[in-house]
């Protein structure tokens, strides 16, 4: 257990996961989000590792159909780590399988926080800026550059994440677990993820309450008062409400989504909420 790690997976196997990862959001669903895309990417590796162990293969397949969501372009980092951990699991008796999904869950939030701002917030904005300025003049280079500026770095990053994730998983993960380092990394990752989520709630959830009492110049807008107490308090409270619904009340995400639609339409009908 101490030293020898059996290498079963080669670069060819990892490349299969890499190519399959491009379909991560093809079946994005409200119940478990990119779960099927994740499972699809892991299939070739699981088929190879558990070739003669049908029961363990079934378990592993189910394990990778659990909830998954992160920025799709960097999902290969977690896929690489999962590949390394599954490889260890298939060759070692004492491997704790629950740690495979724990690492997934611990990493996807923080990775999304960093990935979304890097890919969506930065790279996409650069591509859009250059692409549209040319396209507004009817230049065909506009859409072409838009596509290349986003996708060349994206594919390089996707590849680095795949190979890096596998190396990280195979080399360091066991050491980290032994020294309590794993808990530290998970805790640290939780800090980064939660701070990003807090910031995103403040900037990306928009609620407008134009409802007012009094009339003319004396009219007091409810939304302004609430924002005067703490800016963005309404998005925060609303997110807390949804959190309460999906965790404590076990509301399904689809139901929560329909509820939000109803809130929007009723709010618009009564004039309590505005655009």
């Amino acid at each position: 257990m101490m030293t020898s790690e059996t290498k079963v997976l080669g670069k060819k196997d990892l490349m299969k996961v890499f190519w399959r990862s491009f379909t991560m959001e093809w079946t994005w669903n409200y119940e478990r989000q990119a779960n099927l895309g994740y499972g699809f990417a892991m299939v070739p590796i699981l088929e190879k590792l558990y070739k003669d162990k049908p029961e363990e293969k079934a378990e592993a397949l189910q394990r990778h159909l659990e909830f998954f969501n992160t920025t799709p372009h960097v999902s290969t980092l977690i896929l690489g780590i999962s590949s390394a951990m599954e490889e260890q699991n298939s060759t070692r008796e004492d491997f704790d399988t629950s740690s495979i999904n724990n690492v997934k869950v611990g990493l996807m939030g923080p990775l999304a926080g960093i990935g979304d701002s890097l890919l969506w917030g930065t790279l996409r904005i650069i591509a859009t800026g250059i692409g549209t300025s040319l396209a507004l003049q009817g230049n065909v280079l506009g859409p072409i550059l838009f596509f290349l500026i986003f996708n060349i770095p994206h594919i390089i990053l996707r590849y680095i994440c795949m190979m890096g994730g596998y190396k990280l998983g195979a080399g360091f993960l066991t050491k980290m677990q032994q020294g309590g380092l794993m808990d530290k990394v998970t805790y640290g990752a939780a800090i980064v993820g939660l701070m990003s989520i807090g910031a995103m709630i403040a900037t990306m959830v928009t609620v407008n309450i134009p409802l007012s009492y009094g009339s003319g110049d004396n009219a007091i807008v409810i939304g302004d008062i609430l924002n005067g107490i703490i800016p963005g308090i309404i998005p925060l409270l609303f997110t807390g409400f949804i959190y309460w619904l999906v965790t404590k009340k076990k509301m399904r995400t689809t139901a929560a989504l329909l509820l939000i639609l109803v809130i929007g339409i009723v709010g618009s009908m009564t004039g309590i909420l505005g655009v």
Partner: protein, 256 residues
């Protein structure tokens, strides 16, 4: 008729962004260019695409929320404008309501069709059938929305401008407004789900820290993520080595 079929195909190519690494094939700047190609006026298509791209710049998927369905909005907005010889601005007026209408269609497909494939995949996984899981993924994506979207765009173009605008006008304004309001609220669901995976009594304070830094100091999300890295390094650094597992996130203690 041929144009309607080709536009349907363009829509399917756009939706295949999710098959090609979320490569932004679905963005208006790409979709309108291809539409211009089909309609025989690629230059106007590119210009419409650039205008639509800027209008939809905030529309991208983050967390658990879906943006307006830009593929149909972009293609139909551009195609109907080019066919009727209108100016590029008209494409936006047509495109935006189509995009919110098509989002309803997309959500319906996600709620009523897609779960069938996801649950079949679970069944195959239980049987240890990796090929079955793969098949459900490929087939599910194609059948739940890729094909319906192609049909929707092709049919909508074929039925033409007048029918389309009648349909669009039939939606009351308060419903359209309501959809816009709901679009602003939906990210809350995504963040609630993300938070529920990592939050517990001891670390929830960091969510508020990020929130307060954003609202009072106006630090952008990237900056707060980087501050988060520094905070994490400081805190993990001064903690003694025996970090209790309760601190490490997870689901055993997630009430706050």
């Amino acid at each position: 008729m041929l144009q309607a079929v080709l536009l349907g195909l363009v829509a399917m190519i756009g939706n295949a962004t999710f098959l090609t690494g979320t490569s932004l094939l679905d963005r208006p700047i790409v979709m309108c260019t291809l539409t211009g190609l089909v309609m025989g006026d690629i230059k106007s298509g590119i210009i419409i695409g650039a205008m639509m791209e800027l209008a939809f710049i905030g529309a991208f998927s983050v967390g658990g929320a879906l943006p307006p369905e830009m593929i149909s909005g972009g293609i139909l907005g551009a195609a109907l404008t080019l066919a009727s010889g209108n100016s590029p601005e008209v494409a936006l007026t047509i495109g935006i309501p189509i995009a919110s209408l098509a989002l309803v269609l997309k959500n319906a497909c996600k709620i009523f069709i897609l779960p069938y494939f996801v649950h079949r995949a679970d069944q195959y996984a239980k049987e240890g059938n990796g090929k079955g899981v793969s098949r459900m993924h490929m087939l599910g994506g194609l059948l739940y929305f890729n094909l319906p979207l192609g049909l929707f765009v092709g049919t909508a173009y074929y039925l033409g401008n007048s029918v389309m605008s009648t349909v669009l006008n039939a939606i009351p304004a308060f419903v359209q407004n309501g959809l816009t309001i709901a679009t602003g609220l939906m990210p809350a669901l995504g963040f609630a789900i993300l938070a529920s995976m990592i939050v517990n009594k001891k670390n929830v304070v960091f969510l508020f820290l990020g929130f307060l830094l954003a609202v009072y100091l106006n630090i952008p999300v990237t900056g707060i993520a980087l501050l988060g890295v520094v905070t994490a390094l400081i805190i993990v650094g001064i903690q003694p080595t025996q970090m209790s597992t309760a601190l490490a996130g997870g689901d055993e203690d997630d009430d706050f």
